[in-house]
């Protein structure tokens, strides 16, 4: 056997080994069409190398006549394998993009609903306050209620500000989740109660909570949770403190 024959023997053996690895070892690596095109490519190359080996080692010339025709399919098989790979990859990217768009649409709808409901409510309250002020110009008795009306308008503006702040926070959470760390519950509650009392200083607010230190794992948005609970409790609670 001459040098070329020996080289071709190794070429054919290595290609057969590669083909065997692809057939035996690869499960779920590619989609079926991509895998089939890769296997077809390896079969064509193996055939070409086998023909070369038989020819150059002087064993047989039987495959020489068809060798060149089969060999011309090899670059096409390489091309087809890479094309199907790109195609499947593009399909996957498209599916992911569609998912992102659908999610973004759902969030837009959610923000729209949130804004529509809350802003309408705030505007209605301000409009109501404005009507009362207008009427009070003609009715001196109603002028006594003006401080309460101004307070109502101030509350509605604060609600509007909080709504904008909450929507901004929601949007930020979606983009990058806040990191979790150890927080002292007592200090959070103290700060939140102080803030809420300042917002509703005209109300007689008494808030009690345990004095002991409580450590918990949470993110920086925990104070917003307590703030929302307290603000809602103040808005909707008509009871006088005992």
């Amino acid at each position: 056997m001459n040098l070329i024959g020996i080289i071709d023997f190794f070429v054919f053996t290595l290609t057969l080994l590669s083909l065997s690895i692809i057939l035996i070892g690869w499960k779920n690596q590619f989609s079926i069409i991509t895998k089939l095109s890769l296997i077809a490519m390896m079969f064509i190359i193996s055939f070409y190398y086998l023909s070369n080996f038989l020819e150059w080692s002087g064993i047989s010339d039987v495959l020489v006549n068809v060798e060149d025709y089969i060999a011309s399919l090899a670059p096409l098989a390489w091309f087809f394998f890479l094309y199907t790979f790109i195609q499947k990859k593009s399909e996957k990217n498209l599916r992911e993009n569609q998912k992102d768009i659908e999610e973004a649409y759902r969030y837009t709808e959610f923000y729209k609903d949130l804004f529509t409901h809350d802003i309408r409510n705030i505007l209605q309250n301000i409009l109501l306050a404005n009507n009362i002020i207008e009427q009070s110009y003609h009715n001196q008795q109603k002028l006594e209620n003006l401080p309460e009306i101004y307070e109502l308008i101030k509350e509605q503006i604060i609600r509007g500000e909080n709504l904008i702040s909450n929507v901004t926070k929601l949007s930020e959470i979606r983009k990058s989740p806040f990191p979790i760390h150890t927080i002292d519950l007592k200090s959070i509650l103290e700060k939140t109660v102080e803030k809420v009392k300042k917002l509703y200083e005209h109300r007689n607010i008494i808030i009690q909570f345990p004095e002991q230190t409580l450590l918990l794992k949470s993110n920086d948005l925990l104070n917003n949770v307590f703030e929302n609970i307290l603000v809602n409790a103040i808005i909707h609670n008509k009871n006088e403190p005992h």
């Binding site: 070329i4 290595l14 080994l17 692809i22 499960k27 190359i45 996957k92």
Partner: protein, 96 residues
């Protein structure tokens, strides 16, 4: 003398190589892409020498041709081995 079918195969190889170059960015997610591409480039070079051997230095370019084939198959074998070793990893389920 140049054989037509060899020249056609070489041109087809060049076409596939051109396709790879213009789509290189999209192919980057193919694991061990460089090894795979080296294998194909060596295969194309083999066909280049097949064509050239019909014009000059037949024996020398024939040897080059077969050396290119063995290098190409070694690279392809390495590529499949890398795949086999990392079988089951999520990184390879990218086109499914």
């Amino acid at each position: 003398m140049i054989q037509e079918n060899e020249l056609i195969t070489f041109i087809l190889c060049l076409g596939a190589l051109f396709f790879i170059i213009i789509n290189y960015g999209k192919l980057k997610s193919l694991p061990s892409l460089k090894i795979f591409l080296i294998s194909f480039t060596l295969f194309t070079m083999g066909w280049f020498f097949t064509v050239i051997e019909g014009l000059i230095f037949e024996e020398l370019f024939n040897l080059f041709e077969h050396l290119c084939y063995i290098s190409s198959s070694i690279m392809m074998f390495i590529w499949t081995l890398i795949f086999f070793k990392k079988r089951g990893g999520n990184e390879f389920n990218r086109d499914n």
